[in-house]
Symmetry: C2
Subunit: 240 residues, 2 copies
């Protein structure tokens, strides 16, 4: 079965967490909105607007898997984790992986607000002073708090600090890789200054980038570059 991933075609955004899981799994998938032959963005909009969709998504990303239409990033990852061995099969392990993923999602939401603290519908330029105020606090307390948390999780893993959950890769590791890569892009000064405090997180990030399928993906045209339309944006004035 070929998965259909639906996400905005020009940004990594929240879709990237799903792309990384699909790539690491070696899954057969099409990134529909980026593929005119498969309907492009119009096909994505159809799922959002078609009144006949019984279980409509609120927003992208969403994944078509046979008859299932699954939205919400963490929910899609939970599904893929179970299908492709990217999470433990037992209840405690599944819940813990989901818990970590939801914590990554909170950090992603807070990162989005660094450039859009007032409204997603307004341009960054129209909320620049609020963005500066929000981000001052974000880089000072929030990034260290989240990085410190994931560092502790790695440190306390009885199976070692190589992975967040037990002794095997899970989708939460891929997501932590992505959020670190994104913060490195958006806030290089901040992340360099903080690096010593989360050495294990950094090591995990580097190891994920070297996994054969992830390395091949990152070097391929399927990996979009970070840019100033996505969640992780580099505005030098915000990176004190």
């Amino acid at each position: 079965m070929r998965y259909e991933l639906y996400y905005w075609p020009s940004i990594q955004g929240r879709g990237e967490f799903v792309r990384l899981a699909l790539e690491e799994a070696g899954a057969d998938y099409v990134d529909v909105a980026r593929d005119a032959a498969n309907g492009g963005t119009a096909a994505l909009m159809r799922w959002l607007e078609d009144k006949a969709v019984e279980r409509p998504p609120f927003a992208p990303p969403f994944l078509k898997a046979g008859r299932l239409l699954i939205a919400q990033t963490a929910n899609i990852l939970m599904f893929l984790g179970a299908r492709h061995g990217l999470a433990p099969a037992n209840e405690a392990g599944r819940l813990w992986t989901n818990q970590l993923q939801l914590t990554v999602a909170d950090l992603v939401d807070e990162t989005h607000d660094t450039h859009h603290p007032i409204a997603s519908s307004l341009y960054y330029e129209d909320q620049k002073s609020e963005a500066r105020r929000y981000t001052a606090e974000f880089v000072k307390t929030r990034i260290p708090k989240y990085m410190g948390y994931f560092e502790r999780v790695l440190q306390r893993n009885p199976r070692g600090a190589r992975f967040l959950v037990g002794g095997r890769l899970s989708y939460a590791d891929l997501s932590l890789f992505q959020v670190v890569a994104g913060l490195d892009y958006a806030f290089p000064n901040t992340m360099a200054r903080l690096a010593r405090g989360h050495a294990r997180v950094r090591k995990l990030h580097d190891a994920i980038a070297e996994r054969p399928r992830i390395r091949a993906y990152l070097a391929s045209p399927r990996r979009l570059a970070f840019n100033e339309q996505g969640i992780f944006r580099h505005y030098p004035e915000l990176d004190a």
Copy 2:
């Protein structure tokens, strides 16, 4: 087995979504931080700070269920849903319920930001002008968008508009009840103005309030009142 719920003792907050599920399930639980005999807030802090906790929560709420320590509201609800028949047992139904819950969670996050658009660590009074700007957009576009979405979900449910998922109560219904109750408290003018556009959501809210266990809970001292320390705060200047 008696569950231990850990959440801040003076607000409904995110803990309330868990309390509602526990109450509807008729589960045996103790709300630890509100109960001095069980250790109060110090017991909550211990789980956050104790270096021996192998799988630490990032923040409350968290639930102790035997040997499991589960954090992140949607994750706790997924666990309770499976244990207490508050979600379908099949994969498609479980994923759909979780998807709806994560969409409620997004609305809850956005509601929090109406009074704290800049930083949770600052007082509302110190971010009042930004709050006014954020909330103008929130009441104009975001509340209608979310309410319209849940209205559509109810409308398209082939088993009827009584519940979000199939023909039986799920924890997502309880959470939708709570978010509507909270928005009614925080933004009474806005919600009254919009009521006609989400009649099914309103009806679900009213029906949940009349379920015997929920009604008994809401009338009990276990239900904290909404207040201006929680997520749903009534600041008349924000409710245009």
